[in-house]
């Protein structure tokens, strides 16, 4: 029993790292643009398919393939922002961005179905199938690599936000858009690049998802988006470290409940969200919302 619990905790923490890779893009986009990107789930799947094509057709290593998929997804993100998101303003923006990003998700999903069909695909590599023996249980290498990648990426995003000139303008835009505009920040450009970066990070999340989830198809995005939303709300929307912490917390809870009953584990996942928000409406790391005027 005790061994099972340790195992579940280790699994939860490591898979939590994979979810963090998928969730940081969502929370970053929310923090800067103030929109919920419903397409995030499908973008993860798109990232997985891009990695799949590179490794199945060109026999590129999964991690080397990221050098291609990350810039490609960055461009996709900037295009989505430029074509659709940029135009939305006004009172109903919250709901409209939901509908627009959902429409984008539908279109991407349809295209993926056209190209790859509905059959489940999986990313393969030696480090996906091989395991390492530590502390009495076996862990696939990919989990360890993924967790390391998550920590490195979160650190890199922090460096980008807190140590660069671009990061300063992003944070200025997060705090007060009008003031940022007044001191000469090109807010539209900041928003476009942030959207691009958010989607680019998702490419790595997609690769890890494809390697660890045990199969994916174009429809996998729907289950994902609700989990990712639960994670970023819990972490405090817009907080990147919060997303990492909440991913690890949620996946550990889920993995612990799985020992007892696999089918109820996923409900506990959402119930945890509801309970935490009853106690603390801004999530773990969220700031109290500034009253909009």
């Amino acid at each position: 029993m005790a061994a099972e619990i340790y195992r579940a905790i280790a699994d939860g923490i490591l898979i939590g790292g994979v979810y963090a890779l998928m969730a940081v893009g969502l929370t970053l986009i929310f923090g800067v643009l103030d929109i919920i990107n419903i397409a995030q789930g499908v973008l993860v799947v798109l990232g997985a398919y891009l990695s799949y094509s590179l490794s199945a057709r060109l026999h590129l290593d999964l991690f080397v393939g990221l050098l291609v998929t990350v810039p490609a997804m960055f461009i996709i993100g900037v295009v989505i922002h430029y074509a659709f998101i940029r135009r939305l303003r006004g009172q109903e923006r919250t709901a409209m961005t939901l509908l627009v990003t959902y429409a984008v998700a539908l279109i991407i999903e349809g295209i993926l179905y056209e190209i790859y069909g509905p059959n489940y695909k999986e990313l393969n590599a030696t480090y996906v199938t091989n395991s390492i023996h530590i502390l009495g249980f076996y862990l696939p290498y990919i989990y360890l690599y993924g967790f390391a990648l998550a920590v490195v990426l979160v650190a890199a995003l922090y460096a980008l936000l807190y140590r660069t000139r671009f990061g300063r303008s992003v944070r200025a835009t997060m705090q007060d858009e009008t003031a940022a505009r007044l001191i000469g920040i090109d807010v539209n450009k900041v928003a476009a690049i942030t959207f691009g970066v958010g989607v680019a990070v998702t490419a790595t999340g997609g690769m890890m998802f494809g390697a660890t989830n045990g199969g994916f198809n174009p429809n996998s995005g729907y289950d994902l988006i609700s989990r990712l939303l639960a994670i970023i709300i819990l972490g405090g929307m817009g907080s990147i470290g919060g997303a990492l912490a909440a991913s690890i917390f949620m996946l550990t809870v889920e993995s612990l409940v799985t020992i007892w009953s696999p089918q109820w584990a996923i409900i506990v996942f959402y119930a945890a969200l509801v309970i935490v928000l009853v106690v603390r409406p801004t999530g773990f790391f969220g700031r109290a919302p500034v009253r909009a005027q």
Partner: protein, 345 residues
């Protein structure tokens, strides 16, 4: 009575006459099927609008009430061994159960606003879908069948058509009454500035919760009607994430917060969607994936080009036509208020 009121009443009478005559003129079940689905969605979109459209709290959990109404009728009919026409007496029970669910749901979700509220409604929605899959009394993945109704196939749809029509009419009338009442004013004050409304003495929680429960009651009722009509409910059809987004799209296409908007939106989108998925025999359209891409593209066109909805946009055009040549009079800058100062990008 002035001329414009007379015109409006006459128009309403014509619409009502067309709605009543429809199943007699186009009596084939294929046509009445469009009518039944269209009216079910008119009801749900209007019910959604009474809460979300008026108060500005965009809910993506309306399917919780729809599915719960359907499941309540199904479970009660099975456990109480009911069949025949008597099962229609269970519809109010479905509505009451949906309303009872709305109380804890609302007490939790209505504490938070905007995006967080939306995500909580999604989370609650998934909790209900998963419960429908996993509880011992819901029939699991195979769902529940409705009791058999020994009616003739040729006219099977008609009673459902009139039931849906009646529910839709009551819902629209309620929406109209609420919009004109103090209650509706309080809801709209919450949409504009909830803190200020609270400061002015609006009991915001009570107002929001009442509207949420009313919306749930109507949706639960029509969910039961839908269940008896299609004679089966599954966790994936009763609690369908697409359902939630579709009714939001309907309301937005027509015009959120207006009375006619959700009705028009539902009557355009639902028959269109039904035709695309079932009846279109154009080769490349029949491919399910292409129709999905088309649906997404349609969403984009609506939101990007008619962002405020058909009804408000249409009203503006009429106003422009009337004031042709003369400078339009805009009392205290109502026209300018379309872009509030606090808007972001």
């Amino acid at each position: 009575m002035n001329r414009s009121t007379t015109l409006k009443l006459a128009g309403l009478a014509v619409v009502a006459a067309i709605a009543v005559a429809f199943p007699y003129v186009y009596s084939s079940p294929v046509n009445t099927n469009y009518g039944v689905y269209g009216l079910i969605f008119v009801t749900v979109a209007s019910a959604w609008n009474i809460f979300s459209g008026f108060s500005g709290y965009i809910s993506l959990g309306q399917a919780v009430f729809f599915g719960s109404g359907a499941y309540t009728v199904g479970i009660a009919a099975r456990d109480w061994h009911m069949n025949g026409d008597g099962i229609f007496l269970l519809l109010p029970l479905g509505a009451v159960v949906a309303t009872a669910i709305a109380v804890p749901f609302g007490l939790i979700a209505l504490r938070v606003r905007r995006h967080t509220f939306i995500v909580i409604t999604i989370a609650v929605f998934f909790i209900f879908q998963l419960m429908a899959y996993d509880f011992w009394f819901t029939g699991g993945t195979i769902g529940l069948p409705a009791p058999f109704l020994p009616w003739q196939a040729a006219t099977f749809n008609n009673p459902f058509y009139f039931m849906a029509l009646g529910t839709a009419a009551v819902t629209i009338a309620l929406a109209w009454l609420i919009r004109r009442s103090k209650f509706g004013l309080q809801l709209r004050a919450i949409k504009d500035d909830e803190d200020r409304a609270l400061g002015l003495g609006v009991r915001t929680m009570r107002v929001k919760l009442s509207a949420f429960m009313l919306s749930a009651f109507i949706t639960g009722f029509i969910g039961g009607v839908w269940f008896l009509y299609i004679t089966q409910v599954l966790p994936s059809s009763g609690y369908d994430p697409l359902f939630d987004l579709t009714i939001v799209l309907m309301a937005f296409l027509g015009g959120v917060g207006t009375i006619a908007g959700p009705v028009i939106g539902a009557l355009i989108i639902e028959p269109g969607r039904l035709w695309l998925t079932t009846r279109s025999n154009i080769g490349w359209l029949a491919n399910g994936y292409v129709s999905e891409i088309l649906l997404g593209a349609l969403f984009l066109v609506i939101v990007l080009f008619v962002p405020r909805g058909i009804v408000p946009t249409g009203r503006e055009w009429i106003k422009k036509l009337r004031s042709r040549g003369r400078p339009a009079v805009s009392p205290t800058g109502t026209a300018e208020r379309a872009t509030p100062a606090g808007s972001r990008r």
